[in-house]
Symmetry: C2
DNA sequence: TCAATATATGAATAACTGTTCATATATTAC
DNA sequence: GTAATATATGAACAGTTATTCATATATTGA
């Protein structure tokens, strides 16, 4: 593997890229955030929660699938700080944890020209 | 599986959630976009390209890993519209395809308090 | 045309992850 | 305490995917 022939023109960009790369730890954190919201089931849960908090059964109704599967995904969303939960009697009520989450979703939808 | 006991309080939110769920097709598209940028290797490539276009060898230098692995990931990024490519002699020069991609990255970094 | 460089790609393997099933925990009502 | 409801979770399985290896394609220069 030898040097790129156009090194001169791209030297600056290449140097900049090399010296400004985020650490592996930072990269992993950002990647984990995106991965967390990149599964259709989890994404549906977030979409369902846009209009307000919901208990698990209502989330199951909205997104489909089994209670167990939804519960597993809720756990992952919560572990990554995308949703928060509080108990209310027999129910656990979930809601979106952070306005940044809503903003990222909106931006992605805008990018894809979705009507959300 | 019976109804949630707090149906009355959450009825509105539940109805809203049900009637405003995006289609499966839209959900899949959004999920695919996030999944595309949720792998550390692909994310590193995007970070490397923030400062300007780079040929493949320079990308390999910046993100590490083998040429083959990087090339495979570039293919996926390109297929999802995250990067674009043009030939320049022997080299293929890659760059970020869309300002929305940069915006999503910045928002995620801001959310995680990364210094990017 | 031949050699060298740059990039892409098909196949195989290994690691990861979402779902399912069964079961456990927690709360409320009786 | 017991029954019923709501939610969570461990283990196993299945599907997905990133990497590696070997090789193919494309461009340039001689």
């Amino acid at each position: 593997m030898t040097k790129c022939l156009h090194e001169k023109e791209h030297e600056l960009a290449a140097k900049n890229a090399l010296s400004n790369m985020p650490s592996d730890e930072e990269t992993e954190r950002v990647a984990a955030l995106f991965k967390c919201i990149s599964e259709p089931c989890r994404l549906k849960i977030l979409f369902a929660l846009r209009h307000g908090e919901l208990c698990v059964l209502h989330i199951v109704e909205a997104v489909g699938g089994t209670q167990s599967a939804v519960s597993h995904q809720l756990r992952i969303l919560k572990a990554h700080g995308a949703v928060k939960a509080r108990r209310e009697g027999q129910n656990i009520v979930y809601s979106i944890a952070d306005e940044h989450v809503v903003a990222v979703l909106s931006l992605a939808c805008e990018h894809l020209h979705c009507k959300l």
